[in-house]
Amino acid sequence: MQYRRPSPRMWLARQTVLGLTSLLLLAILGVSGALLWGVPGGLAGIGVSLAFAVTSWLVERGRYRSWGYLERDEDLVVKRGLLFRRLTVVPFGRMQFVDVTAGPVDRLYDLATVQLHTAAAATDARIPGLRSADAAQLRDRLATLGEARTSGL
């Protein structure tokens, strides 16, 4: 069975956030470096922020690629993480509720995060970066499946 992946737009959204923070960092480090130590300081500041941007870009790309989810007959499997890999299995019958959230950047790209909640506090089943329509569809499908298979505590 093939894991389904978040929408490629999620990568765009992540890059946007990363780009904005990098630009901010570049401005702060570049200007403060230039003010304190002149041209070499400014260049060093730019260099540091560029190095940060490149590393974060690589890490973010890895993280983005690591997300995956799989709907099976009786449960939902979510995997994530680059350095610390995690795989969570939630039986449909155990879902208490499903919630869909979207932050400002997510909304810009028409994305949403679907989160599953069970009666256990430690459960962390979250699928980010789904197209809003897909997220709503998944939410409804999960809710229906959960209802059909629900079992008491």
Partner: protein, 453 residues
Amino acid sequence: MPPGSSQAPALAGTWCRLHPLSPVVRIGVTLGAALVAGVSWVSGDHSSSGRTVDTLVVAALAVIGVAAAVVSWLVTRWRVVGDELQVDTGLVYRQSLRFPLRRVQAVDVVAPLTARMLGLAEVRIVSAGTGHHQHGRLAYLSNQDAAAVRAQLLALAHGLAAETPEPPAFPLFRVENGRLIAASLLRGTWLLVLVVIAVGATVAAVDPAGAAGTVRQGGTEAATSLISALATGLLALGLDVARSVNGDFDFTIGQAPDGLRLHRGLLQKRHETIPYGRIQAVRLIQPLLWRPFGWARVELDVARQPEARHQGEARQLAHLLAPVATLDQARWLVAQVAPGAPATLARAGAPPRRAWYRAPLSYHYLSAWHDDRWLVTQTGRVRPATVIVPLEKVQSIRLSSGPLLRALHLADLRIDTAGRRWVAAALCRDADEATALVHQLGDLAWRARRLSW
């Protein structure tokens, strides 16, 4: 509610108030404290005008307290209709609470000292909700009514007719108070106290050797502050010991057809009933200082709010199967509530040898075992803990691995239940085995769930 009637009218569906003496109990403790504080305050060295003001303030506070308790009693009504407990309360913010009894996780009857003196008790209904009022509280009812309410709630929770009389319980296990006190005194905190004493002694020993007078003085000051810190620590420790002895005194478990009955308490008596099939997990702990004596503690978990607001409350909420027992007794008790599951694991279920690099200290205790009904895992070094989870209660399964674990081709497996925060953790398993186990456990849990329904 006329005393002596065999059944409270509230159980038959009539709205009723709580026992008329409830406000007395509710304000008893606070009022007592306020009076003591007030008297000591007033009798202190004050000018006469200041004294009058203080007296007035104390009197006003007392009147407000009494009024609040009386009003709260006046506006609270309860009844049982069908299979629902209904409580209406609140003067300014009205609250209508409904507890579906088929979802009751446990029923507790709690009698604090003041309530006991008046022959009253509080009934607490534990449900799995996460709201602010997760517990249905009826404070207070007469002992008779409390027992009747408990019997009826449990009968309804089991889907029986409300009139079903409370089945008799036969005693399963009791804890000797001597051992309880001894075990309460054997706490890990002593080690901390020893460290503090050692540091203090070193400072004091080094001090005379110090040549300069300033150094000497500094050393003595440090020793004094250490001693005062030690005294505070000992006081806190003493209170903690007293609280746990008070809470678990005369601990007995009975087995009744409708669930496990726990009785405990010295000043405050608690009677807890946990229906069968509501147990989310069982945990067996062997604290460091208990191990030479071969003692263990067995705890039960039922579904409830994940985090309690106060530490003290969390402590009270933990259902104990035994505050202290010998390992054999503990194993036997576990067998009573989890038939077929081992309470301690053999080395056969240990992770591969290379796991030692990841967990050199706890490797000795790491182990996991499962059949088609139970999953048992063992973790910890200072406080080895065995967690036993019925597979039908599994909420989610998590597999995780960090860089080091991956380099060793290992993975951690965690199984969540609806209980408080215990997670059955099978740590440092072989990666392939763990992946296979995730799917296998998922299937087994699904099958167990279907069978239990």
